[in-house]
């Protein structure tokens, strides 16, 4: 609660007036000579207790009535957002998260979280009166002064976008602004849906922000309006990759929903170069990947389109755009150390390019690994000791951009590690015995079940030699002793795989079972998704913007851009000069992970922040309501209670001078 007329709170001293009057009254007694003193003394003795309590309550009611009146005059604002101890604020910096996830609406489809928060902030600012409002929005990240709170919902820099939000960055910007502007008594209001991706609690900038905030000469309060209500189940769709493959456009799509409510069907519409088609997709679980193939003519030329589902809680994640170019070969690299035997090499190269169209494998020695064309590589198989920098850095960037690297056991021991994984010692099975697989991940990864649901015969794998894997990984298949056969570490869009045995008869029967082929082809397919990535960009990021003389024009017709000022932050298919690029919302915007209270506490530790959680963003409860009327009502109630307490209980009607009946 805050008070617009804080000085009036000095009037709270007036609560002592009833007590003072009472004490003065006690001193202003009249003296009377009295006969029935024995009864008076007895009554005085007996009256201690209930009556005294009643008297104290009467005084309390009077004092509370005065206090309520003073509070009412001080014009209190309530709503939880301001908490207690607010006051006159000169500058309010609103950190506005206008990322795609803020376009979620709960009850009323028209009232998104962003709209709701803008209305509430406008109302609150009107209540605060003379305070200056500066907005730092998540798209531009720049402080911009708002002339009047009323126009807040209509401004370009408060309009919806498909971009993400960098909350720690915006907070640091806000402090920089406040320092520069010498804004006096100020407050930073953060309006966000507490999406963990946006807040990045492990980001090192939080420490800088905290340090900077504690350095401030003036007191800056941080208030967080958390719009984290999730009443409706939200479905989203995303184009994971789009690429030409054998005369077809292969769209890897991903459907996600917040809550798994059982099997359902989702209508997925595809608009490909203006030709629309729709299909029902059976959806089970929380997230589901599926593929759509669209027949193309020829193997060259660019194209684009979008995939959409029916509108639900958040319209912004119901569409995803794609663009594609010429067909490129699925290129894989085999980095093999010189000690690799011919049989293993042959087995691997055959598995990487078994003769399907457009698959190539290039073999390189570890020394020539720098020649690898990371841009074009779909998969890199590393049958050599784990590389050192700078190759390992290149490899890591490759993985981050969506590439897949499969490490196979090197022939020699090595201390190196990659992405936290490293090789251990070679283990050999005792004579006449094998290492066999106990369990494996059937829903995901290289050993997942076939599309018809039938499992791979992983249990037929027999190995006589394996190399141990250590580090932080997810095991996709385990030997009987619990050691991993296949370990995976996901790094951003890409994957790092460690296979603990080789497709060689001196190691295992992987070659005979052809399971290595399955694993390699599936990994190749996973890595191929990034090939079309040059046609994709994230809204608001540099890659989505024109370079040099390029002119940026939107080519899709899904939705018209209503505000040209926000075009840079809108998803869609754009032509940048000769290039075609599909701009989508960031992956993090579809993330369901919310910031926990502990995360928030650690990020804003010792900042004295206040948090208001608005579960229902579409509700009309404003951030600050003037509540002086309630205080007046409270005052009336206190006065009524005081009057009731003052009322003497009705005594039985008796003659004041009863004349008893004479006795006989």
């Amino acid at each position: 609660m805050t008070f617009l007329q804080q000085a009036m709170l000095w009037g709270l001293f007036a609560v002592s007036i009833p007590v003072i009057i009472h004490l003065l009254n006690r001193r202003r007694f009249r003296t009377v000579e009295w006969g029935a003193m024995q009864f008076l003394l007895k009554a005085t003795r007996d009256s201690r207790g209930k009556k005294r309590l009643k008297h104290i309550l009467i005084l309390l009611m009077r004092s509370l009535a005065v206090a309520a009146l003073v509070f009412a005059i001080a014009r209190p604002l309530a709503g939880g957002f301001f908490g207690w101890g607010g006051g006159q604020v000169e500058t309010v910096v609103l950190i506005l998260d206008r990322s795609a996830s803020m376009e979620r609406s709960e009850k009323d489809i028209q009232v998104t979280k962003r709209k709701s928060v803008l209305t509430k902030v406008a109302d609150a600012m009107n209540e605060l009166g003379a305070a200056r409002l500066v907005v730092i929005d998540s798209a531009t990240g720049q402080p911009q002064e708002v002339p009047s709170p009323d126009v807040l919902p209509e401004l370009s820099f408060t309009a919806p976008t498909d971009s993400g939000a960098d909350i720690p960055g915006m907070l640091i910007n806000s402090l920089d602004y406040l320092k520069e502007a010498k804004a006096g008594r100020s407050e930073i209001w953060v309006a966000s849906d507490l999406q963990r991706e946006n807040w990045a609690p492990e980001d090192s900038r939080w420490e800088a922000f905290r340090a900077s905030l504690s350095e401030e000469d003036f007191q800056t309060k941080v208030r967080i309006l958390a719009l984290n209500g999730r009443e409706r189940n939200d479905f989203s769709i995303r184009v994971v990759s789009a690429r030409r493959e054998s005369g077809e456009l292969v769209l890897d799509l991903e459907l996600t929903r917040e809550e798994d409510t059982g099997p359902t069907t989702v209508t997925v519409n595809v608009d490909h170069m203006g030709a629309r088609s729709g299909s029902e997709v059976a959806f089970n679980g929380q997230s589901q990947s599926f593929r759509k193939r669209i027949a193309l003519t020829g193997t060259s030329g660019q194209g684009y389109g979008w995939v959409s589902i029916t509108d639900n809680a958040n319209k912004r994640n119901n569409v995803s755009y794609y663009a594609y170019g010429d067909e490129a070969p699925a290129q894989s690299y085999l980095i093999a150390e010189s000690s690799t035997d011919e049989e293993t090499l042959k087995s691997l190269t055959t598995a990487l390019a078994p003769g399907f169209a457009n698959q190539q494998v290039i073999t390189r020695s570890p020394e020539l690994a720098y020649q690898v064309n990371f841009e074009a590589a779909s998969l890199i198989v590393w049958k050599a000791p784990i590389p050192q920098s700078p190759v390992s850095d290149q490899l890591f960037d490759y993985v981050k951009s969506g590439g897949v690297v499969l490490f196979l056991p090197p022939s020699e021991e090595s201390e190196s590690s990659f992405a936290g994984l490293s090789w251990g010692a070679v283990r050999e099975a005792p004579g006449e015995k094998y290492f066999i697989v106990k369990d494996w991940e059937r829903g995901d990864g290289a050993f997942r079940d076939a599309s018809d649901g039938s499992p791979l015969p992983i249990d037929r794998i027999r190995a006589i030699k394996r190399r141990e894997i250590s580090g932080d990984f997810t095991s996709l298949a385990n030997w009987v002793n619990g050691e991993p056969l296949l370990a995976r570490r996901v790094i951003e869009a890409g994957q790092v795989l460690f296979l603990s045995t080789l497709p060689s008869y001196t190691w295992s029967n992987l070659e005979q079972t052809a399971l290595h082929l399955v694993a390699l082809q599936r990994s190749l397919e996973q890595g191929s998704r990034r090939i079309g990535a040059s046609f994709f960009a994230v809204a608001g990021e540099e890659s989505s913007l024109p370079v040099g003389e390029e002119i940026r024009t939107r080519v899709d017709s899904y939705e018209e851009i209503t505000d040209p000022g926000n075009a840079d932050f809108e998803a869609g298919v754009y032509r940048l000069g000769e290039r075609l690029i599909a701009v989508n919302r960031p992956l993090g915007e579809d993330s369901l992970e919310a910031l926990t209270g502990a995360d928030l506490g650690s990020s804003l530790a010792d900042t004295g922040y206040s948090l208001l959680e608005e579960q229902d963003a579409s509700g009309n409860n404003s951030l600050s309501r003037p509540v002086w009327r309630w205080f007046l009502i409270a005052m009336l109630l206190f006065l009524i209670l005081e009057a009731l307490l003052c009322l003497q209980p009705r005594r039985p009607v008796t003659n004041s001078a009863p004349s008893p009946q004479p006795l006989t």
Binding site: F29, A36, Q38, F39, S47, P662
Partner: protein, 299 residues
């Protein structure tokens, strides 16, 4: 009139009303009140058998003629009444609220008027004024000249100090040898049990007791509004009190006191009259005398 507590109009209005005793009285002269002894009045009492030594003049010859037995015909004896007014002169009797008279003034009016009526009908009236000690005592007399002294004493009464009512009643009970009408005029602000014992004493001595419990209306209703410093009229004890805070307890205590006092009087078959200062003493006296008139068929 010389005495402000006497009103000739009231005296003339009440003059026709006789003062009656409820019990048989023992007087020293012939009067109009019933005596426990047989006497020579015209009121037939009973027959009894003649025993040697009886006055033969009292033989009922007609009864002898009818029954051939000797019977003595006995008649009621009529005697005079001696009334004793015990007036409480403690400081609390001085209390008067508002426009009403003090309790002592009421007691003066009542005692004087009734004494006048008694002497006027040939009965004797005595006075005992008590505070901490009985300081004034006027033996009963039926001489009209006695009234002068009676009124003088009443007129000079000055209430002060604590009450000596209980001791006074015991003294009266002991001093008065023969049956009498004892009229107590007091606010009875004394120990209830001691007062009840004193009444028992009077009753034991076969006195006819009438208690006039004098109270000021404010002493019963306690209708003060603002804080007051109450100074005791008897011993100057001071209490500062908020009337609102204690009114309930006070009225509850006073009602309990009135109930107990009335019950004590009932126990000894004494007349109890709660009289407040706002009542007209003439009314009170008339009611008292009227209620004492013998019922039809009885003397």
């Amino acid at each position: 009139m010389k005495y402000d507590f006497l009103d000739s109009d009231v005296l003339s209005r009440l003059g026709a009303l006789p003062v009656e005793a409820r019990l048989a009285m023992v007087g020293n002269v012939v009067g109009k009140h019933r005596s426990p002894h047989r006497g020579s009045s015209v009121e037939f009492a009973e027959y009894r058998k003649y025993v040697p030594g009886d006055d033969t003049r009292r033989l009922d010859w007609k009864a002898y003629a009818r029954s051939d037995r000797h019977y003595i015909k006995e008649f009621e004896a009529d005697t005079n009444l001696r009334a004793y007014f015990v007036v409480d002169c403690s400081g609390s009797m001085k209390y008067a609220s508002g426009e009403f008279e003090s309790k002592i003034q009421f007691a003066r009016r009542f005692a004087a008027t009734m004494a006048y009526l008694l002497v006027n009908q040939g009965d004797a009236a005595g006075l005992s004024c008590c505070d901490e000690t009985i300081h004034l005592e006027l033996p009963p007399s039926r001489r009209p000249a006695h009234l002068q002294n009676f009124f003088e004493v009443l007129g000079t009464l000055e209430p002060k100090g604590e009450t000596g009512l209980v001791d006074a009643l015991h003294t009266v009970a002991e001093k008065i040898g023969q049956r009498a009408l004892i009229i107590v005029l007091s606010d009875l602000f004394c120990d209830s049990q001691s007062f009840a014992d004193a009444l028992q004493h009077l009753r034991y001595r076969k006195h006819d007791v009438a208690v006039f419990h004098l109270m000021d209306p404010q002493e019963i209703n306690f209708d003060f509004t603002r804080p007051h410093r109450f100074v005791d009229l008897e011993d100057s004890t001071t209490v500062v009190a908020e009337p609102n805070l204690i009114a309930d307890e006070y009225t509850s205590a006073i009602r309990e006191f009135l109930t107990n006092t009335e019950a004590s009087c009932h126990d000894v078959q004494a007349d109890y009259h709660l009289v407040t200062s706002d009542q007209d003493y003439e009314e009170v006296l008339r009611d008292f005398l009227t209620n004492r008139l013998p019922k039809k068929g009885k003397k």
